[in-house]
Symmetry: C2
Subunit: 491 residues, 2 copies
Amino acid sequence: MTDDDQELGITESKSHNTGEWYAEVVRKAGLADYGPEGMSGFIVTRPRAYAVWERLQSFLDAKFKSTGVQNAYFPLFIPESYLEREKEIVEGFDPEVAWVSEAGTKELEERLAVRPTSESIITPYISGWVRSHRDLPLRVNQWCSVVRWEATETKPFFRTKEFLWQEGHTAHATHEDAWEETLTRLDQYESVYEDLLALPVLRGQKPDHDKFPGAHTTTTVEALMPDGKSVQGATSHHLGQSFAEAFDITYADEDEEERLAHTTSWGLSWRALGALIMTHSDEQGLVLPPTVAPEQVVIVPIWQEETKDEVLSYAEDIAEELSDAGVRVELDDRDERNPGFKFNDHELHGVPLRIEIGPHEVADGELTLVHRPDGESVVADREGIVGTVEEHLETIYAKLYAAAEETLDGAVREADDRASILGTLGQHGGYVTAPWCGEEACEEPIKEAMAAEIVMVPFEDDDPLVDEGHDETCAICEEPATRTAYFAKTY
Amino acid sequence: MTDDDQELGITESKSHNTGEWYAEVVRKAGLADYGPEGMSGFIVTRPRAYAVWERLQSFLDAKFKSTGVQNAYFPLFIPESYLEREKEIVEGFDPEVAWVSEAGTKELEERLAVRPTSESIITPYISGWVRSHRDLPLRVNQWCSVVRWEATETKPFFRTKEFLWQEGHTAHATHEDAWEETLTRLDQYESVYEDLLALPVLRGQKPDHDKFPGAHTTTTVEALMPDGKSVQGATSHHLGQSFAEAFDITYADEDEEERLAHTTSWGLSWRALGALIMTHSDEQGLVLPPTVAPEQVVIVPIWQEETKDEVLSYAEDIAEELSDAGVRVELDDRDERNPGFKFNDHELHGVPLRIEIGPHEVADGELTLVHRPDGESVVADREGIVGTVEEHLETIYAKLYAAAEETLDGAVREADDRASILGTLGQHGGYVTAPWCGEEACEEPIKEAMAAEIVMVPFEDDDPLVDEGHDETCAICEEPATRTAYFAKTY
């Protein structure tokens, strides 16, 4: 084994040391490096990961634009007095804020916060832009980075002091319009996970005590990680009228009456990349669905000196045909590497489909297709290769989704008392559902015993306890239950 | 005249008060707002301007990607010690830096700079990624914002404390490879101006005393503004080996010898939007070339109560046909506004082509096309409308380019002594070319007399003084001239 081969291997176990295994995949697959000394909690996002983020951006941005959202860009800094103004309604992000107090060799008169999120600077501008009901709905979104100085340990993409995200901010005439907006964005986030990242998610709302500060309702999509923890995949907040009131967003209705608007905000961060990497990857390295993989197909020609020309020319034709059809294909014709090395290399880097071509394949007008997730290998005809490859890419997506779905389905368990909630979470992780009275106090005994909480409550229409009017008691306090709670460990 | 009509009018004169006129266009066309109180020098980029930036991004990003560039994302902050390390070679940006010294309620051990540009954080990572000649060339780019705490007055897009840009950073095996890279990027910047923004530019290099700190050569594209000043449109730097030496970028060549790399960096900022807005717009408001306009065509139906249905249905059909063909078209069917208001409104907002449709047009199977830049009006057949509109959009682009080119061509004047350089600049603005010895001292007398400097020196191949071996003396000191200098006033 050469140095290079060692470099290609993942040494940690996904099931036993999920955290260390994840960090190793991130580093060895060239996704991210840690920040400079003195900047723990920051990462450098390398081209391979950034390319996945760009595909996610373009998928989600197209959905936004087709549903009335316009992009804009607001300043990186927020004056301290603006954040203070927000405190009329909420506690805010103060303890996590990075402050600029010197600039251009001078002390600033007022400290500037590096944005932890932009409600407090965007909402006042929206207030200036909205005058009449004809200006509503008003929707702006920005793709940017935000900074939150969290004390907890860094995990690339999952928890970093600076992260890339989008934040959308909207104003509406009525409570119902704002609610519809909130759900439209939640649907789009669900689609990012399910239709692009091959990750099934649960959808619902946060318990009242865990809403975005000042929000009327916080909705969420939750994804299950392989270590049994739940990740908040994205949130969409119905902010009610509290921000409109604090920042004075009023409009003249059709009768020229002045009314207070209703607002929403919603965001998805690069944590989605973390969930993607952690769910599908394995002990050979990164696994990516073809939808977001920088290269969907790699062709590895296998030759001896005397067969090199014919093999390479056959491989080049196939690469060109696939590329012309819009498939992202790479031909790995490196002379200095043997096929075995190349197989490992592309497995590590998560190329979904490998095509192997040797002299036998050339002679028979065939080629061998190998699926990244499970090594399934199929011999196919050279003819009709574009259609064949497209079918296999779809199959690979479906395999990844099905595996994640099976895991998720098996990870939702019922419990109806405190002991069984704790016992089930301790033994299996995943989600434990239990009837709940709605009081934060009844989450406490679970939270105290282990790092678990109520991550979600299904919407009323999806909650049999509400929808079918079941008569149950809270698993903790035995008062009447109002909703089904999903308990889980979290990052 | 109602309030609304006043709101639509531009009151300042482009030729007499260019600065005030520009500020008014930016505000009234909904391009940008000023930052919050306490944050002078910052702007809020509104959707209309951001949409133009997105088109520019997508045009330039595609060029980058087709020439080997990969996007990445590096941290927003740079430790002070990293900036210090850069000082081994250069003075750097220190006086313009915004510093974070408190975060998460604690004083930081080391101050963090909000990036003014990212050489000092990107280069050390490139150093870690480059080992062998096979890793070269290595090219990364990021789209982000940077902060420079400039003391001078703000001008939206031209001069702001935070601005959006892209910064590319590359490493190469040889000096020649790095030079080729530098020129490839300069060509792409030139293409942004000439093929996308309808702005002819001059290309060349900065005088040695005005290079990027530490660079071997700084190349530039310069655009002429209507007030006769020159704007640096984008720069591409051949950094030589100084950054590679300071940050230790070495590689093993084919004989396993360790060699020092050669690096480049290159950037284009939203100043390009400023140049675009200022050049083409007029006293009716914004003018945009169809290439970047959010709406390329607006259809204004003109009806009376009894003709409304037929006019509207005819207009809707045309809108649908254009939209299906990929034209960005808006049908302005607002009931509460009259056609005159709509004309002014869309002129203010820079929609390149207006289609007017009244009952006569419907009866005759025709429509009227009006060009934004000059009001030229043409009656055309309804049949073949897609092709007709596409031709007119091309004509509009060509008109804008030709007007800017004529201005530029007429604004380059020759001079051969100090008095005539100053006299010509004072009277006409624009560019004054003069033979120059290459010494900074000979720029001083011009700089002292007015805010003018040598903005550019043509490349050797483009400089008749070099190329044809003319024997001339410096316009200032009368020593032998080595190059032709372009003097101009600047922002």
